[in-house]
Assembly symmetry: C2
Homo-oligomer: 280 residues x 2
């Protein structure tokens, strides 16, 4: 339901004091191509003048084969509503990238073409593919470089393994998917069990769906609470899970036990990855 | 964090009574290509023998330019964990499809190649792009044909406008994004304000993020509650929104008012679409 162009035109209309008109632009336009120059000094036409409707954030979201696509799309959906923000879907090459569950997405930037100075650097998680990305020199060099200057260094799910492997979590509290959170200690991080963990400019989310809570937290951080609440209403984020099995604290044993067994190999791989990173 | 192959091997291992080994298959494999033949008669090795670990559902998820990608990916992430299920991302052609927020996804089936007999037919929402899809003859013909035989006819967000336009909601209770829910009456549906609405074999979700609750509901319907709870734990769906603005009932006025203005044009377009569908 999000259409970033709508947010853009809402703000433009609000700033100019003219009635808001919905976009009739071609739906396939890339989000970086239709940014109006923000108006200045106009009547806010009833909108809260304290809301930061327009910005110019530069957001880079890493993609790699085997990523979990919901880790990426949850936050992307919230970021995409930030008027004036540029989102770059960054991969090693511009070849389409296939997720762990078979969704193929086309990147729009490479490690070379991605802006050097970012507001947000973000890494999604996965399993096998994440371990592979977290041992890939070019990926780690990109993350370490952009992460050294980014205003916020962030992840959702096991994406924090990539931050850790790039040396970006030393001495920081951070979280991850429950299956590999403890492994973060091997990178010198302080594993922390919370939905969204912030330590200075490192902001990490828990597993997969935590990307929605993470995304709203980031929008509030970069804009303000009202803007984030607008995003929440537009994405109708009023969750009502049919069951209460979403965390290790609430899932019944017949759910926890097979799932813990299922991720045992990944947990070991994450621990081995982190243990091997001592010199970074 | 989901890796459907892991679920597959977990079940295979459980059924065969052998220790579970994680997949080392190429992460880019399409999800329909690596299904093992289910074992029979093996020891369940401690797993609940009443859980339906293996199935053979055929799920078709419509894609179109301007769709809201989270409407698609929320449910897809849950469906992708169903061992043995085949998910088809279906579009008019195999050309990559760009969402309202600039995410480009490659379809893997067309209206012609999509299986004729489906377990689930699904439509995601959007704004301009959804109105366009809901007035496109080929799209409506595809939806009406597959919907006439599908076990479940489903949508998230304004995707229900497409179901309605295809004549699939006459006399059924259904929901949609809050901005266009009432318009469903024009299709002969009974607009219903709930997170997930079921009326016989029509199952519709509310706006965008309701796709997670919808997806888990569908997994429980097609498999069983324990399987759905496993999906919930693996996606760590233990939501904790930082604000309480996710519905028209809870959002403060300074959030509701600009967002209602923002969607006014879309609401009108949805009502005009539904009003023009009287003869369907």
């Amino acid at each position: 339901m999000f259409d970033r162009r709508d947010f853009t035109r809402l703000a433009a209309a609000a700033l100019a004091g003219i009635p808001f008109q919905r976009s009739s632009a071609h739906a396939g336009d890339a989000p970086t191509k239709d940014l109006p120059a923000p108006s200045h000094g106009g009547d806010m036409a009833g909108y809260d003048p304290n809301v930061h409707w327009m910005g110019d954030e530069r957001i880079a979201m890493l993609m790699y084969p085997g990523m979990t696509v919901l880790d990426l799309i949850g936050p992307q959906s919230m970021f995409a509503a930030m008027m004036g923000a540029r989102i770059h879907l960054v991969a090693k090459t511009l070849d389409p990238v296939t997720s762990d569950a078979g969704v193929t997405i086309t990147p729009d930037a490479t490690f070379e073409t991605c802006p050097r100075d970012l507001t947000v650097l973000f890494a999604p998680g996965g399993t096998d593919g994440t371990i592979k990305a977290a041992t890939d020199h070019a990926t780690l060099a990109f993350m370490a470089d952009r992460g050294s200057r980014a205003t916020y260094v962030t992840s959702v799910c096991s994406g924090s393994l990539i931050l850790g492997a790039a040396g970006l979590l030393k001495g920081f509290r951070a979280t991850s998917h429950w299956s590999c959170r403890d492994a973060l200690a091997g990178f010198g991080a302080i594993p922390t069990d919370a939905r969204v963990v912030r330590d200075r400019n490192r902001i990490t989310g828990a597993g997969v769906t935590a990307g929605l809570d993470f995304g709203l937290t980031m929008v509030a951080e970069m804009r303000d609470r009202t803007y984030a609440e607008c995003c929440q209403l537009m994405s109708e984020y009023d969750p009502d899970p049919p069951f209460k099995a979403g965390s290790m604290k609430t899932a019944p044993p017949e759910v926890r036990e097979p799932m813990v067994k299922m991720v045992a190999g990944f947990r070991q791989a994450a621990e081995a990855l982190a243990a091997g990173s001592g010199l970074r």
